[in-house]
Symmetry: C2
Subunit: 127 residues, 2 copies
Amino acid sequence: MSRRNTKTQEAVLTLLREEQYAMSHEGITAKLEEPIDRVTIYRILNRFVEDGLVHRIVADDGRQYFASCAKNCAHDLAAHNHLHFRCTSCDRVECLQGPLGVELPAGYRADNYNIAVSGSCKECREE
Amino acid sequence: MSRRNTKTQEAVLTLLREEQYAMSHEGITAKLEEPIDRVTIYRILNRFVEDGLVHRIVADDGRQYFASCAKNCAHDLAAHNHLHFRCTSCDRVECLQGPLGVELPAGYRADNYNIAVSGSCKECREE
DNA sequence: ATTTTATTGCAACACTGTTGCATTATTTGA
DNA sequence: TCAAATAATGCAACAGTGTTGCAATAAAAT
């Protein structure tokens, strides 16, 4: 199951790398110049997550957001252990600051961290 | 919009209070003796959340889970600032330990904390 | 007992994300 | 360079979660 290079994948990855916010499928669709099928976008994103190029955040609106991984964070669980903030006004999701001291009780194993706080971001509050 | 007492609401609240895990709509339906309409359950749960009787967790499967609030946590945002763990084997969601030191950058306001970690719980790992 | 209106149940919908399958396009290797 | 193998795409259809509209029901208030 080796990967192939395609324009569509390139377009999505470039978009995610340029954007400072985590993007939902909806946001990605909106920003793409050439329209790409909804299903294809989801499949591309899932592949990126599998390959560790992108990380997946489930915000507290229950939707998936995707953000380009910082370099070398591929498959590094700890690197995904940071805070995500969703602004309920502008609906942007951003990754904030470094790792949090989230500790599980003995005997538990974490496979995925999903730390999502929602509220109003600085920009929206200043308006 | 004052509230009225009904058997259905009583049944759902009792269920949530007896259960040590946070429950999804699905789980609630499964445990109810008298069947209650899906829509009604959602409406009851949303009312409970509004009234601060129950808190809502969005796990990293994107689904809503509901847990009876500890006494006096009603509308107290800080009290909801704790870790939620979803076991991907037994699919149970539990509320773990005390508040976390989640700090937002200056200018941000948090309206909702949703800290969800998934993995394997102690019980499932011991099997 | 009667009125008021919160609650319920049904049908229908909106939305997110996935699966199946035929078609297209990238790789690979002769 | 061309042909075969197969990854990626697009369309249709589906599954699941959660919501809204509306008529029927039932709790509370008079």
